[in-house]
Amino acid sequence: MTARILAQGIAKQFPGVQALDAVSLAVEPGEIHALLGENGAGKSTLGKIIAGVYSADAGQVFIDGAAVGAIDEVEAGRLGIGIVHQEGSLVGQLSIAENVFAGRQPTGRFGRIDRRAMRERTRALLADLGVTLDPDLKVAQLPPAQAQVVEIAKALSRDLRALILDEPTAALTLNETERLFEVCRTLAARGVAIIYVSHRLAEIFALCHGVTVLKDGRVTGVRRVAETSQDELIRLMVGREVHFARTTGARSFGEIRLEARGIAAAPFVRDASFAVRAGEIVCLAGLVGAGRSETCEAIFGARRLAAGEVLVRGRRVRFGGPWDAMAAGLGMAPEDRKDAGLFLSMDVAANVCATVLDKVSSSGRISSTKADALAGRFIRELRIATPSARHLVGHLSGGNQQKVLLAKWLAMEPDVLIVDEPTRGVDVGARSEIYRILRDLASRGLALLVVSSDLPEVLTLADRIVVMADGCTVGELDGATADEEQVLRLATRHTRVDALPVAA
């Protein structure tokens, strides 16, 4: 049987980076093939070359044995290659239906767009993925997880021969992930070849047949999933052992640093109460759209509080904006790193220093020495893979961007740090690194509030788990003893405002 997708000897260079070097990859029809590798290993680049976004410097791509020359996105679509981009390809101002059929809307007479058909087909595609959304909603109004589902629906809206999924589940919760897997299996059964990129090894073992591991732009191993182990894959990827240990035993915490009492903020947060103590890691868990991110923004002064109060070190505070929150010792790494977190067209050093301009300046004057030193420190400590501190952040791989985002807030040395989805798109090595850093910070007395939709992550990190549903905090669990089921039960329980077991 000829491979559905065959890439041979692919090389690709970016200024200062050899992203891919003689990489080969073969995927049979009906196979779900995992592509693994650290951040910056070149996974997305390979996917983009196959999908016609980039052209390779060397090497050749074959689809069903036929060599495809220099193609662009349009041609790739015609060849039946679909791709879910890591960084998204949706236009916020337009409706879900239009995004799904971008440039390929079904048309009726006189080339007129057939909106009814477009809506119906969108609804059906979304239903396949287990989501009910009004196809007329604007994508900008969707929380990241739902946008991700739309992104997937968009790739599925064509007649596919091959599908590339670049970290499709980074923003998804369990439920949607399961649905996506089902869809993948159905497609595979129909003979579609799927390339699956993810940093979650458990997913690889649950879904994939074969796996190719990249490191620094080279293939370090090709395995059958059934014949390999997590440890082996990690070794191939990282070159060393990585282990995830749960927080063990009860640690001692300090005074209450941050407390939220009955917070409400438009449009989804209705009643959130919890406290974070010095040295403690509190994880805010919940389903998509539970209002966790908005709660954090409200606390941080980036969103207007409609009701309730925020206390920092026991004192009631009213923040006019994030600057006030920062002055009070709060920091917040937002979940959407492209839109809200980073300055993509600026370099690493500038991004790291954005929150601490006063720290890198003396008597009002920016000191490039200090800025360099600070950036250099974090590049080393967080092992950010960048050619230099002068590299534009927009050119870093997703995981490394995430590390820059963390660095930016660590540089501020806050008393209370809110981190929204700290490891979205981060590789296993870096993830354990980030966990280590977060724990380390906590042990040094920082109060940490972590929002995460990744349950294993919640269980690994949390000293205490606060669960939100429907804009309200609905319960608390002990981080050391809680299990996935307990969290999910709280998060999915139908709650009414008046029947809330609000945490003390």
Binding site: V53, D72, E73, V74, A76, G77, H85, G88, S89, L90, V91, G92, Q93, L94, S95, A97, E98, N99, A102, G103, R104, Q105, T107, F110, G111, R112, I113, R115, R116, R119, D134, P135, D136, K138, A140, K154, A266, P267
Partner: protein, 336 residues
């Protein structure tokens, strides 16, 4: 500050309750276009009530419509470009260049009127093509590219005919001066352009792509939309429309004026933004843009009828502009 703007009012497909007219109405709702429509209607009503003998007369209405024709044609093209996140400052010069070429062909070389019209429009399209090539091939941003061609095309206009061409010819002027249902040809041409343009932009797959480009060019490209090619086509369309406006103007005055269209880009962009476009791109409708042109034209007409001194006219136009764009901003803030 473009990146500080509040959330945009991009058109979207609303639910399809009811009949076609009702749906159209619904689509207008919550939009700049509706706001302008209300403002225009209110202004017409007020003027008709206070000046029944001056404002709602056949000649006055015809004159307002005729004078708005040029900008309404231009706004159709500008809206397309601005939806795609671009714009064209050189339209005034293109307009003059097209008019002068038509004038030279007919008035000096004695070509038939139709050939003159065509050559003018073609010159406009060519100028637009050059703009588009500079922007897409050389990668120079639209602001500086069209600022440069603004002066270049104006220079070419002077070189072509330093004194302009007057008169052009009787056959030629018929195209701009003949009257149909009480209004002159340019108005009817405008009506056709605007109607077709509005329909195409709102309904066809091809033009719908411009909303993607303006909304997020990178995402559009990843979605298989040929951003560069479409941008180029957008500039050519703008050029053709500017050429059309140029030959119509020349024909209406029976004179190809080298100084035609100076500063017209500012009033056209004003109307386009008033009509719902933004510099960021991704939003706006042709109907909105045309209502923007009409609104400004009516305000100017109203001020003269009211006998407002010219010094005050500037101030009032400015205030009205602020009012026009702030009304629905207000609504936005309330929506959250």
């Amino acid at each position: 500050m473009s990146n500080l703007a509040l959330e945009p009012a991009a058109p979207s497909f609303r639910s399809r309750a009811g009949t076609l007219p009702r749906r159209t109405l619904l689509r207008l709702a919550n939009s700049r276009a509706l706001m302008l429509f209300v403002l225009v209607a209110a202004l017409i009503a007020a003027m008709s009530a206070f000046y029944p003998n001056n404002f709602p007369t056949r000649y006055n209405i015809a004159a307002v419509l005729l004078n708005a024709a040029q900008n309404a044609i231009l706004v159709t093209g500008m809206m397309l470009l601005m939806i795609a996140g671009g714009f064209d400052l050189s339209i005034g010069s293109i307009l003059a260049l097209a008019g002068v070429w038509a004038g030279v062909a007919v008035g000096w070389w004695g070509w038939p009127a139709e050939a003159g019209l065509l050559i003018g429009i073609a010159v406009g399209g060519l100028a637009g093509l050059v703009n588009g090539l500079i922007v897409t091939r050389l990668g120079i941003n639209a602001l500086i590219a069209t600022l440069a061609t603004l002066t270049i095309y104006r220079g070419l206009t002077y070189l072509t005919a330093g004194t302009g061409v007057t008169p052009i010819g009787d056959a030629f002027k018929a195209y701009g001066q003949s009257v149909f249902l009480g209004v002159q040809t340019p108005f009817w041409v405008m009506l056709a352009v605007v109607t077709v343009g509005a329909w195409l932009l709102a309904n066809t797959r091809f033009f719908r792509q411009y909303y993607f480009i303006g909304g997020n060019a990178r995402a559009a490209k990843l979605s298989g939309i040929r951003v560069e090619r479409l941008t180029l086509i957008g500039f050519v369309i703008m050029g053709l429309l500017a050429g059309l406006a140029g030959v119509l103007g020349a024909s209406r005055l029976n004179s190809a004026v080298v100084s035609a269209g100076i500063n017209v880009e500012l009033s056209v962009i004003t109307a386009t933004v008033l009509g719902g476009a933004s510099l960021k791109g991704g939003e706006g409708t042709v109907v909105g843009g045309v209502l923007g042109v009409l609104f400004i034209a009516l305000v100017q007409n109203a001020m003269i009828i009211n006998g407002i001194g010219i010094f005050w006219q500037n101030i009032i136009v400015g205030l009205v502009l602020l009012l026009g764009v702030s009304l629905d901003r207000f609504k936005h803030t309330h929506r959250g």
